[in-house]
């Protein structure tokens, strides 16, 4: 039952309401399962537990935040979901299959702007993942320029990264992620290098693109405000050893507007996360 339904779901990407109704039929509506994942590595002072027996599932179509102090393993966890890092034990599954290597059609990654290749134009950068996949030139070029238009860069297709501002480069990186059209999109602190104003407006743009596709997003960030503002659910992690301490549902309505940041509920949610992180840190 599950496999048939998930095949159906995969084939009918365009039929949004259909996939919604199928989701309610499915026994398993999760996009990703993290099953007892541990990561240890050897350092000079002995073996370090970067992640200790982490388990949780991520539901289809949800916008999930991963927050926690440095060293809590949130980036390692993301790299494992991307198939770029192998867990020491446990596994991460997409549907029923464990992830062993990058699978860009299932799981795409949006990296920081520094990940753009500087000799490629904005357009060439966005179509690069499709080029590697063997998509023909005219198709991939059309897809990439449509995506760049959607992030407001229609007039900058032929610019190289060094001719673009930080915010524009990050837009290119986001367009590159969405252009791959994966089922799950992982974002590794994509806005960390940007100033606050750019961060805020890019957050809004990201949300408006996401509203159209409702892909599953896993978003790693240092900013609690950003996590509460963007996400449906925030997974709070602690360090030494890296582990999940709480999952907090963000019950703010959608679509989100920046005025919500001034509401009491927004403040409560952010404080709750901050208290969790701070108390664990002081133990």
């Amino acid at each position: 039952m599950t496999t048939i339904v998930s095949d159906l779901n995969h084939d009918s990407k365009s039929a949004m309401n259909m996939s919604d109704s199928i989701n309610t039929l499915r026994h398993d509506s999760a996009a990703l399962h993290i099953d007892g994942v541990s990561q240890t590595y050897q350092s000079k002072s002995g073996s370090v537990h970067a992640l200790d027996d982490v388990s949780f599932s991520i539901d289809n179509g949800k916008f999930i935040g991963l927050v926690g102090p440095s060293g809590c393993g949130k980036s390692s966890l993301l790299m494992m979901m991307a198939g770029l890092l192998e867990p020491s034990s446990g596994c991460i599954r997409v549907g029923q299959r464990p992830i062993k290597k990058p699978e860009p059609e299932e799981i795409g990654v949006v990296f920081q702007e520094s990940s753009l290749l500087p000799w490629k134009t904005a357009l060439e950068n966005v179509e690069f993942p499709l080029e590697l996949r063997g998509v023909d030139v005219s198709t991939r070029r059309a897809l990439a320029s449509e995506m760049l238009t959607r992030v407001g860069l229609r007039d900058f297709l032929d610019r190289r990264p060094h001719e673009l501002s930080g915010g524009m480069k990050q837009r290119v990186a986001i367009a590159r992620g969405f252009c791959q059209n994966p089922r799950v999109l992982l974002m590794d602190e994509p806005f960390a290098a940007l100033d606050e104003q750019t961060r805020l407006s890019l957050g809004d743009e990201l949300l408006s693109i996401w509203e159209q596709h409702r892909k599953t997003v896993v978003f790693v960030t240092h900013s609690l405000t950003e996590a509460v503002y963007l996400c449906d659910e925030v997974v709070v992690m602690a360090a030494r050893p890296g582990r999940v301490i709480r999952r907090i549902e963000i019950d703010l309505p959608r679509p989100r507007t920046y005025k919500m940041m001034a509401t009491a509920r927004f403040g409560e949610l952010r404080d709750e996360i901050w208290e969790l992180i701070r108390n664990v840190e002081h133990v």
Binding site: A82, G83, L84, K101, P102, E103, P104, E105, G108, V109, F111, Q112, S114, S115, L117, P118, W119, F128, P129, L132, R133, R160, P161, H162, Q180
Partner: protein, 250 residues
């Protein structure tokens, strides 16, 4: 300053240098036996370029230089890649290559003559020896300059190992390798000419050394100008290409 004004001043300095040279001979400030006028040197150079024997010697030098660069480029790049990518052998051999790239390699010439004689192959091998260290060191630097970020990102797109090399390593490293190749080429030409001047029976270096010993200063200067033009041509061509493929470096 706008580029045209800069070009004009640069051109005027070269023209001024030649004018002072011509004037000092005409005014009798220098002995024309020691410093013939530039016009004579130019005429001699044109005559040499029409002279079958001189052209033969020039051809020998060009063949030696070209063969050396064709052989040394793949070897140097392959060794540099290996040492830049391989932790163990990189750490083991890197000091040797770094030190060798700072040693004046001309002092090794007698050993090459003892081992290989004074013919064509000795010149080629000595040119390669001059060029290889800077090429290896540049390739090591190029390999290590590629940010892990670009490789990880490209792997996340499902790229195969070959695709990562073709789409990331190659374009990222090319400008730096070309810089090494350009320096290597200058050392290669220097090495070949020096080896010809020291002990040989053919080549531009052989002619230059002979003209010097026979006090044929006009031919000597013409030969020097020819050697300079050759080096400048090679250098500027490679520099142009380096800038073209490295425009993204800003």
């Amino acid at each position: 300053m706008n580029p045209w004004a800069r070009r004009s001043i640069q051109g005027a300095i070269v023209a001024g240098f030649v004018a002072v040279w011509q004037a000092s001979v005409t005014a009798g400030w220098v002995d024309p036996m020691l410093l013939p006028p530039p016009a004579d040197v130019l005429v001699r150079m044109v005559r040499l370029l029409g002279d079958a024997s001189a052209l033969h010697h020039l051809g020998v030098t060009l063949a030696e230089v070209m063969l050396a660069v064709v052989l040394v480029t793949p070897i140097g790049i392959a060794l540099g890649l290996f040492l830049g990518e391989n932790k163990f052998w990189g750490a083991a051999f890197r000091p040797l290559f770094y030190f060798m790239s700072s040693v004046p390699k001309s002092v090794f010439l007698p050993i090459f003559i003892l081992a290989l004689g004074m013919g064509f192959s000795q010149k080629v091998v000595f040119g390669m020896f001059q060029a290889i260290f800077v090429l290896i060191v540049a390739t090591i630097a190029a390999a290590q300059s590629v940010p892990a970020d670009w490789i990880r990102t490209t792997r996340s797109f499902g790229a195969t190992r070959a695709q990562v090399y073709r789409h990331v390593y190659l374009p990222a490293m090319l400008p730096l390798i070309l810089e090494g190749l350009r320096l290597g080429m200058i050392f290669n030409i220097t090495g070949v000419l020096f080896a010809e001047m020291y002990a040989s029976r053919a080549g531009l270096g052989f002619l230059i050394a002979n003209w010097g010993m026979n006090f044929d200063i006009t031919s000597l200067l013409a030969g020097i100008v020819l050697a300079s033009l050759l080096s400048i041509l090679v250098n500027e061509t490679l520099r142009w290409y380096e800038h073209r493929v490295g425009a993204w470096r800003g």
